[in-house]
């Protein structure tokens, strides 16, 4: 997994100054946050369902090996094949081998974060197979040679004008020369181009939102219907997904399916939810004759038994991104990982190593909204704190921050020193204020005054006021 999180601070600063991006990010609040709140309010048992979903996923993860074997046995019994991949390289090689066995030249794909994680597209291209993304957002970023900036809304960072320019640049070779400005015309043009690609593709690759152990089904959720065309038109269907996507039963799956769209886009249900179970049966009129499921580990099994195990419950709804004040201000690309936002801040270091992704768990104000909205109640802030501890233990924290933390430890451990420091600091701050405002501070304080002025402390500390009033517990 390619991670460019080392440049997080610089990228975040650039994102804050990018007017187009800032405008695009404003859509999150209306599009996702309000819609989720309304959808949750319409469902009487929404909170009880979240509890149940947490328990079902926790149970599944604790017994994951058994459920994976049950899933595999059911897929195999129907004539499908399950492949196991320890890492991204193995997963890519398995997919390529299946494509080569069928003599494939083009592959249609529906949106899959796991194929982003393993960087499947460049690998297939290098080996002479053309991957075609069919989700509209993924199609746009494929044309722009970018990465998705959101796990369910890949081009949330782009404006309509940018998309218009991209189509105008790439569509003339398909016979479309006009620069379109109306959104519905743009969708129609992309539909028309992709329809031809769907029909001619040799292999279809989808991800899976869930895998059902009791039936061997792969479940895919979309609004466009592109996964269904991807999985129904070519003669080979490959599902590429992570080992943590299991649920035991169909009933468990429907519970999850009631939570996923409501948490993600605020829809009661997406337009399409499809259960794919094995290849086409002998008497069926249509469907692929071969069905493969590639199960990817890539660091997930190492999370078992650690303080990050609960992260394996994640159903990739994106609610934590949508509700995160950091994500809302900098967008997804600044994180330098295909998994951004709070879930990415926990998952990326688990998959790629804390040495490569140390900035991410620090990119949080610990406001706790991510945990509040998580449909499977993952304690994301607590896990980010665990990563910060590990980073500190391994001496990966920058020296300035380490000294600061050591100094703070000394001050906070002694009430006398703490009070003395507080008294001195508040006097000093009042001294440097000019007409009620502090305009510039040194050291860590520069982080505040670099962007805005600060008010000096107004009077006595809380502790002094408490004592003066004779306060007691």
């Amino acid at each position: 997994m390619e991670v460019e999180s080392g440049a997080f601070v610089e990228k975040a600063r650039a994102a804050l100054g990018d007017a187009t991006l800032q405008h695009a990010l404003k859509h999150i609040k209306h599009g996702f946050v309000e819609a989720r709140a309304n959808a949750a309010a319409r469902l009487p048992d929404f909170e009880a369902m979240r509890d149940r979903a947490r328990d079902v996923k926790a149970h599944t993860i604790a017994n994951l090996a058994d459920y994976l074997e049950q899933f595999e046995a059911n897929v195999t019994a129907l004539g499908g094949r399950v492949h196991w991949a320890r890492d991204a390289g193995e997963a890519r090689a398995i997919v390529l081998a299946i494509c080569r066995n069928t003599g494939a030249r083009t592959v249609t794909k529906s949106k899959s974060m796991v194929t982003e994680e393993i960087e499947l597209n460049p690998y297939l291209e290098e080996h002479g197979i053309e991957p075609i993304e069919t989700d509209l957002g993924e199609y746009i970023i494929q044309l722009r040679k970018e990465k998705p900036s959101h796990i369910i809304a890949p081009v949330i960072h782009l404006s309509k004008d940018q998309v218009a320019d991209t189509f105008h640049e790439h569509h003339p070779k398909h016979g479309f020369h006009e620069r379109l400005t109306v959104r519905s015309d743009m969708v129609r043009e992309a539909r028309s181009i992709l329809r031809q690609r769907f029909v001619k593709a040799d292999v279809g690759i989808t991800g899976a939102n869930f895998l059902v152990a009791e039936t061997g089904s792969a479940v895919v959720v979309t609004n466009e219907g592109n996964a269904d065309l991807t999985a129904s038109l070519p003669d080979t269907h490959i599902v590429v997904t992570g080992i943590e996507k299991l649920v035991p039963t169909l009933d468990d799956c429907h519970l999850m399916l009631r939570l996923l769209p409501r948490s993600a886009t605020g829809q009661d249900i997406t337009a399409y939810i499809s259960f794919f179970t094995g290849p086409k049966r002998a008497a069926d009129l249509s469907g692929p004759s071969s069905f493969h499921v590639v199960l990817l580990d890539n660091g997930r099994s190492n999370m078992m038994g650690t303080e990050f195990e609960e992260m394996l419950r994640c159903i990739r709804c994106g609610a934590c991104l949508n509700h995160c004040p950091v994500y809302a201000n900098i967008g997804g690309h600044a994180y330098g990982s295909v998994y951004p936002g709070p879930m990415g801040a926990v998952l990326t270091p688990s998959l790629a190593g804390i040495d490569k992704a140390g900035h991410l768990p620090n990119a949080s104000s610990f406001c706790g909204r991510c945990e509040e909205v998580c449909p499977v109640r993952i304690p994301l802030p607590r896990m980010m704190r665990h990563w910060r501890e590990r980073e500190f233990e391994r001496h990966l924290t920058p020296r300035g921050a380490r000294w600061g933390l050591h100094a703070w430890a000394v001050i906070a451990a002694s009430p006398t020193v703490y009070r003395a420091m507080q008294w001195t600091t508040s006097r000093l701050l009042r001294l440097v204020a000019w007409r009620g405002w502090i305009r510039r501070l040194p050291l860590a304080g520069a982080g505040w005054t670099g962007q805005r002025d600060m008010r000096p402390p107004s009077g006595d500390s809380f502790q002094r006021q408490w004592r003066k009033r004779g306060g007691r517990r």
């Binding site: 695009a24 999150i28 969708v187 179970t277």
Partner: protein
């Protein structure tokens, strides 16, 4: 073999990390799901939810009335009276009656109309359920630009879970290759979070509820 090594290693790591747990896995309790205010009977709820998802609905008394209803709908939408009829419906009605031309080529081009049946429908969200099978071709549901679905009044169930009872999957029958829950027309909100209809599949979804089940 490398593949076997990978399988053994992944399963081994999972088993080693966590001792097998016998945490109870009770079936989920019956949750209260969305209730349409006002509509008490199941068909009313189905219609209300389908319309909320941008589908349109019309009732017909019998399957014999379907061709005429289809012809009327297409005329109302200014669409040509030409359509692909899904295999499971073909022998059940007379399309000449509605002055309709049947074109059974795969509806790949823009603007094609498909008339299809379903295996069931779900009141909870106004959803119809398509499946693969010996006389069904679910591709038609995704390729059409205008999709007309015949739903038998007694095919409507309350909640998603009941579909699997109808398919007898819970009593040992294998699941079909494809079971697809479809709610309203195809859509995308990828460009500036604004919904556009007909992303890849149908731009229009019209449901005919028939008192007679296909």
């Amino acid at each position: 073999m490398v593949a076997d090594d990978s399988r053994a290693e992944i399963l081994g790591r999972l088993r080693q990390a966590v001792p097998r747990q016998t945490a109870d896995h009770a079936p989920p309790r019956a949750f209260r799901t969305w209730q349409a205010p006002g509509a008490t009977e199941i068909q009313g709820r189905f219609v209300q939810r389908l319309e909320a998802a941008r589908g349109t609905v019309e009732k017909v008394a019998s399957l014999a009335d379907v061709p005429e209803a289809v012809a009327r709908y297409l005329a109302g939408q200014n669409l040509p009276a030409r359509l692909n009829v899904a295999p499971e419906l073909k022998s059940l009605m007379d399309f000449a009656a509605g002055a309709l031309t049947v074109d059974d080529s795969l509806p790949v081009e823009d603007g094609r109309v498909v008339l299809t049946g379903c295996i069931a429908a779900v009141a909870e969200t106004g959803t119809f359920v398509a499946a693969s099978g010996p006389n069904r071709d679910p591709r038609l549901n995704y390729l059409a630009e205008t999709l007309i679905v015949v739903v038998g009044a007694d095919q409507i169930v309350e909640a998603y879970e009941e579909i699997w009872n109808r398919l007898r999957v819970r009593t040992g029958k294998e699941a079909p290759r494809l079971v697809s829950f479809i709610t309203g027309p195809s859509r995308t909100a990828d460009i500036e979070q604004t919904i556009e209809w007909g992303a890849h599949g149908p731009r229009r979804l019209h449901v005919l509820i028939s008192d007679e089940t296909p």
